[in-house]
């Protein structure tokens, strides 16, 4: 098993740090032990938190959430290599604490180069080596090494259903979300007034956020949004003209606030009264999928 990453460009280092920061924030809000899966293949890198791991009943729990992030290593890293155990089994599956990886990436300013690789110390580790710019021409550059313990998830222990990409077969309606800045601010205000928000989307490009609390009821109407067609060939597919989900404002706010990079667009796939499936897309290199389940009244 071999895995190696090099980050030389400072904007790449910053971007990857933002991604890990997002993963870390999402893990801290949804995973009970703050860890997630890191799946490495020759073509793609994934951060995955499956639903069964995200059963968050303890903290005001209303609805299960999970996330799936896919990254294109060719555009994010300056160098990337990944080899699994064998040709048939050409992937590496690890369980990692994203917080530790983030701490390593943020440990120093003036990073010249970051190297990440899989090593075996006492236990399997992800080793992050950071070369710093020298302070003056006289001193040579220094290297800081972080060893982050990880667990290797053996493929023999995985079933074909584990860590699969969330499916979109149940989608009833798909709509482009309004600008994230406006939604973020509005959700923060609504969070002060109520615990839950109803999102109602139509195939006419409208999206309504409704809260109904003791002291006040508030409705925000967004119009002229783009709807995306759903492929109607699937068995379970049923295109609705109007879809509603009722989400916990805390969960929605945690999700939006976790995003540490500027997305190009966010698409929401609605499964009527069941869950909201968000697609956060950044350039061509990152797709973050996040599910928030709907709560009955």
């Amino acid at each position: 098993m071999k895995f190696g990453v090099k980050l030389i460009d400072s904007s790449n280092i910053e971007y990857f740090t933002q991604i890990v920061s997002t993963v870390s924030k999402l893990c801290s809000k949804t995973a009970s032990d703050k860890s997630c899966a890191l799946k490495l293949t020759p073509d793609m890198v994934f951060f995955i938190l499956p639903e069964f791991a995200a059963n968050n009943l303890g903290s005001g729990g209303s609805g299960r959430t999970s996330f799936w992030i896919s990254l294109d290593p060719k555009s994010i890293f300056d160098f990337y290599i990944c080899e699994g155990k064998s040709m048939d089994d050409n992937l590496i599956m690890l369980e990692i604490q994203a917080e530790n990886l983030l701490r390593a990436l943020k440990s120093s300013p003036n990073m010249k180069m970051v190297r990440i690789k899989l090593t075996k110390r006492q236990t399997p580790c992800i080793t992050v080596e950071i070369d710093l710019h020298s302070m003056s021409s006289k001193t040579s550059s220094r290297t800081i090494t972080h060893d982050i313990p990880v667990k290797v998830i053996s493929s023999s222990k995985l079933s074909s259903n584990d860590f699969q990409e969330p499916n979109i077969n149940m989608t009833n309606l798909s709509i482009l979300m309004p600008p994230i800045k406006i939604v973020k601010h509005m959700i923060e205000r609504m969070k002060c007034l109520s615990d839950f928000v109803s999102l109602e989307a139509s195939d006419q490009g409208t999206l309504t956020f409704k809260i109904d609390a003791d002291a006040v009821s508030v409705c925000t109407y967004f119009r002229n949004l783009t709807n995306f067609p759903i492929h109607a060939q699937r068995q379970n597919a049923c295109e609705y003209s109007l879809c509603t989900v009722r989400l916990s404002l805390k969960r929605l706010s945690d999700f939006i606030n976790a995003l540490q990079f500027q997305p190009n667009k966010i698409i929401c796939n609605f499964v009527n009264n069941k869950y909201a499936h968000f697609f956060v897309i950044h350039n061509e290199d990152l797709v973050l999928q996040y599910l928030i389940s709907s709560v009955l009244i």
Partner: protein, 278 residues
Amino acid sequence: MNTTLITRSNEGEKYLLYAKLDNAKILYNLAKSVNFKEHAVFCALDSGLKISCEDAKSTQGIAFVHTDLFQEYSVKEDCVCIKINLSVLIECLNIFGSIVNSIPTALKICYEGYGHPLSLLLEDNGIITECNIKTMEADSLVNFEFDFDRIINKIIIKSEGLKEALSEIDVSNDIIEIVISIEKQFLRLSSFGLIGDTHIDIPASSDYIESFDCKKTQVNRYKVSFFRNSLKALVSSSKVALRITDSGVMGIQFLIPIPELSKMAFVEFYFCPDEEIE
């Protein structure tokens, strides 16, 4: 442009109170300046909106939004008074936040009458928010008997001066002493803390003092918390008028500039002295 006439539009006909404001931030800032308690009495008068907040019947904060700050304003009865959750009103007014360099959020206020909610309609760039705030019966407010004929001392001071003076006050004690002296011609703010006494003297000749009208020397003590309630108003004001009656009742009036309309608004605070010292 804006006139002081009360206009009636066709839409406003069915409402007891109907008002339109091109910039919701104006009402937001004024409402925030008296939000030291969660609930407030919201009164629609012929002359404008009055938001009154009261704490334990011992202090009152009143923000007044005159009709000439509105693009449209109509009220069908002399005085329509309701009690609302002021914190909720403020969250609603701020639903879109403030994005610099963009067209301000427009606001429409509608109230049908007893039993109906207070409706706010906010619009920003094609996005519309509708808020319906539950209303309650207005409590009667304390009458401070602030008799304008019985004002003994009146000082008009620039806000920066009062801001600076209040920031020096020792917070370990909850009492502030205000002395206005005719012999020494100054305004003195004193606090008596654990480490010692602090006195801040502002002479009548100071650049900060615009007018010093003293009829008799007065020494009064007030709760520091009453001044603290008015800090938001102080920060957005340009000038402050301190008026004290012969029984030591303090009436502070803040002049708040509204640059978007080149107009002014007033916020007032009233409270009684803690002990009377002659």
